[in-house]
């Protein structure tokens, strides 16, 4: 039991930090431009595939730098030549633009790399077990993922709250006119934030690619969860996104390892399962099976009972 809890906690925190790497960019972009970037997970997927392709040629470490830079550049271009023009048609058009972008990126990735999983492996330098907990070898690569995520969180937080650049970004969120009056190029700040945000998603893609599966459906699988994170945390709140990432990471990891079904629970209080009918499955469903649903349940509940999210201040 203790073993299960320890391993699940480690994995949950790791998954949560990966979610946060992406959610931080998403929430920054949202608070700047009021756009929920539907294509954010697609940039994560691009990061994974670019990382895979570059690591084939140059190795993993150059890929870790080059892929996010490339994806961030693409993101900045998308903002400059796409999103900025759509802005005048209102927020729905912006949301739809990013929706279409997600669709197109998915198709392009399928077109170039196919539908099957790419052979993206953990680099040899990190392919050993870091330590052993309760007879389970914990891979070094997972520790590396965790440390990278924590390091990026620390850097991001410091830059945003302690430096001049961060000050301008934060001011652009709330007082964009004043910032423009002071001589800063607010559209360029937006472009940079979009580029950095998508670049962060790509970092997550490069380091998560070998651990999870690098496949053309990875954006579709992760995208909605990402929305859950930013909405549950509170739209536009970085600290909220951090909290929600950890929460969802832990909840999902723990749920997967719990193997209790409705029949077990009801059986213990003396309710027998029905013999047949179309809904007999409900009795056989285990907590592990509903693990993929839990984030969405959480999302719906949060939006009903606390629409601002855990740490959010604004209602949208």
């Amino acid at each position: 039991m203790l073993e299960l809890v320890t391993i699940s906690t480690l994995n949950g925190v790791l998954y949560g930090m990966l979610l946060f790497l992406m959610a931080s960019g998403l929430t920054l972009i949202f608070s700047m431009m009021g756009v929920l970037n539907f294509a954010h997970a697609s940039f994560y997927m691009l990061g994974a595939f670019f990382g895979f392709q570059i690591s084939q040629i140059l190795g993993f470490w150059p890929a870790l730098v080059a892929a996010p830079v490339l994806v961030g550049g693409i993101g900045a271009l998308v903002e400059r030549y796409g999103l900025r023009h759509v802005h005048r048609h209102g927020p729905v058009a912006e949301l739809l633009f990013t929706f279409g972008l997600a669709f197109v990126i998915q198709e392009i990735v399928q077109m170039i790399w196919g539908k099957g999983p790419a052979d993206y492996r953990v680099p040899a330098a990190l392919d050993f077990s870091a330590f052993t907990v309760f007879s389970t070898n914990y891979p070094a690569y997972k520790m590396f993922e965790l440390l990278t995520a924590v390091a990026i969180f620390a850097v991001l937080f410091t830059v945003l709250t302690r430096t001049r650049v961060g000050l301008i970004i934060q001011a652009s969120l709330t007082h964009s006119h004043m910032v423009a009056m002071l001589g800063h190029n607010v559209p360029r700040v937006f472009m940079l934030v979009f580029g950095v945000g998508t670049g962060l998603a790509a970092v997550a893609g490069v380091i998560a690619g070998p651990a999870l599966v690098t496949q053309s459906n990875m954006a579709g699988a992760l995208g909605p969860i990402l929305f859950v994170v930013v909405v549950v945390g509170g739209l536009g709140s970085l600290a909220g996104a951090f909290l929600a990432s950890l929460l969802i990471g832990l909840v999902q990891t723990f749920a997967v390892s719990v193997n209790v079904s409705v029949a077990d629970v009801l059986g213990s209080i003396g309710v027998a399962a029905p013999a047949g009918g179309v809904l007999f499955d409900v009795w056989d469903v285990t907590v592990a099976q509903i693990a993929p649903i839990i984030p969405y349940l959480l999302l719906v509940l949060i939006l009903i009972f606390r629409p601002t999210g855990l740490m959010g201040t604004r209602e949208h």
Partner: protein
């Protein structure tokens, strides 16, 4: 004071005017299969009929009430599943229920789930609503893979539409009978949804879209209006789902998924969400493209996505919006300036086509080179055999793309100027009249 007789004749004229477009549409629906009578054409017409109902129901949310939903397929799919289960129950117990009324089952299930999910999701509009709809959509889509008894797992639930009670000697085996069933329901749903937009309720939905605060000031509850609109949209989506279930005799979990929700959003938006006819155009175009393009190219969804992005960026009112843009010229009968505008369009069309050809070439060759390498390097685009491995076709594609783009940038101001002139003249002529 008008005499009673002239009053009643005025009423009669009004009724005829009101009914005329629908009678004409019914005639079109009746005649269409005699013009397009091949098997594949009938299938396509049936699909279009289903898609029109589904897209119009979606536009009750997005276009009429301003609710952007990412999970509308939930009501479509659940309507389909319940219709199939109802049909199977009818068959098993040999109940006296004809196939004609099965769409009602889908409609009621759509309405029921619309009421359940609408009560939690329509409290707020805007981004919050969009996110809840996405969450609910994912919730149902994920559940569909867990509850295998109801959703039938990977292969779905199948049925047999010919085993129900036969009325008027119809057994619904041949596709033509199914087409007329779909056409009848499609006409009914279209007329009902159009009538709804003309009621005070429909107008208040538009008001909720424009300014919910003012709606509250005049004494309406925006949340209640959103809720009613949402439930009704669920009803019509459920009917569409049941029609699809009848057409395919099969429903699987993909029908409730994000792909289907995305498709209806694309169709409504490409057609134009600002008018009633827009989603109909979108449904026809999207279904046609889906069938035609998927025959021609494997990456048709990419073209689809690019078309959508293009519409969002340059024509946010959709195809219907582009058409109605020209209405003032038409009404002013400014034929001379319209002709000049048409010429300007032609001038811009040439580089646009060149650009398009270049893009298609790049996309098809990339696809071929990366995925279908095993089938050899030679591909045929526009019936021209090309070696995607050699440099020459790539150079041609690059020249076409870049040259087309450059020329288009040059010619587009001509269109802009012609448009401006035509519009000013039309307004001037209107004023003199």
């Amino acid at each position: 004071m008008p005499a009673p007789r002239s009053l009643s004749s005025a009423v009669a004229i009004a009724i005829v005017r009101l009914a005329a477009p629908w009678i004409a549409l019914a005639a079109v629906f009746l005649i269409l299969p005699t013009i397009f009578h091949s098997g594949s054409a009938l299938t396509m017409l049936s699909l279009i009929g289903i898609m029109i109902v589904f897209t119009l129901s979606y536009n009750m949310l997005l276009g009429e009430t301003g609710l952007l939903s990412f999970g509308h397929a939930v009501y479509y799919g659940l309507g389909g599943f319940l219709a199939v289960h109802a049909m199977n129950t009818v068959i098993r117990n040999a109940l006296p229920v004809p196939l004609l009324v099965v769409p009602l089952v889908g409609g009621f299930s759509g309405l029921l789930f619309g009421i359940i999910f609408g009560s939690v999701s329509t409290r707020r509009a805007g981004t919050v609503f969009a996110m809840i709809s996405l969450g609910l959509g994912e919730l149902v889509a994920s559940s569909s893979l867990i509850l295998r008894g109801f959703f039938g797992g990977e292969e779905g639930v199948s049925t047999n539409r010919t085993k129900l009670l036969h009325v008027f000697g119809l057994n619904f085996g041949p596709q033509i009978q199914v087409y007329y069933l779909i056409a009848g329901w499609c006409l009914l749903c279209m007329a009902t949804m159009y009538a709804l937009t003309r009621t005070p309720f429909g107008r208040m939905c538009n008001a909720v879209r424009e300014n919910p605060e003012r709606v509250q000031f005049v004494g309406y509850n925006p949340r209640m209006l959103r809720f009613i609109a949402f439930s009704l949209a669920g009803l019509f989506a459920g009917i569409a789902g049941a029609l699809a279930a009848i057409n395919f005799e099969l429903v699987n979990s993909a029908e409730v998924g994000a792909g289907q929700s995305g498709l209806v959003l694309l169709a409504a938006y490409i057609g134009g969400i600002g008018s009633f006819i827009g989603p109909v155009i979108g449904a026809i175009l999207v279904t046609w493209l889906e069938v035609m393009l998927s025959d021609v190219t494997d990456v048709w969804q990419l073209y689809f996505g690019l078309l959508f992005i293009g519409m969002v960026m340059f024509a946010p009112n959709g195809i219907a919006g582009l058409l109605t843009m020209h209405a003032p010229l038409w009404q002013a009968r400014a034929y001379g300036s319209m002709l000049r505008l048409a010429l300007a369009y032609l001038v811009a069309l040439v580089p646009a086509l060149v650009l398009l050809a270049g893009l298609i070439l790049v996309i098809e060759m990339t696809y071929h080179l990366s995925v279908k390498m095993s089938e050899g390097r030679t591909i045929s685009v526009f019936h021209v055999a090309l070696d995607s491995g050699s440099a020459m076709p790539w150079v041609v594609a690059a020249v076409l793309t870049c040259g087309g783009f450059w020329l288009f940038r040059l010619t587009w101001p001509v269109v802009g100027a012609a448009w401006h002139v035509a519009l000013v003249r039309a307004q001037a002529e209107r004023r003199t009249k």
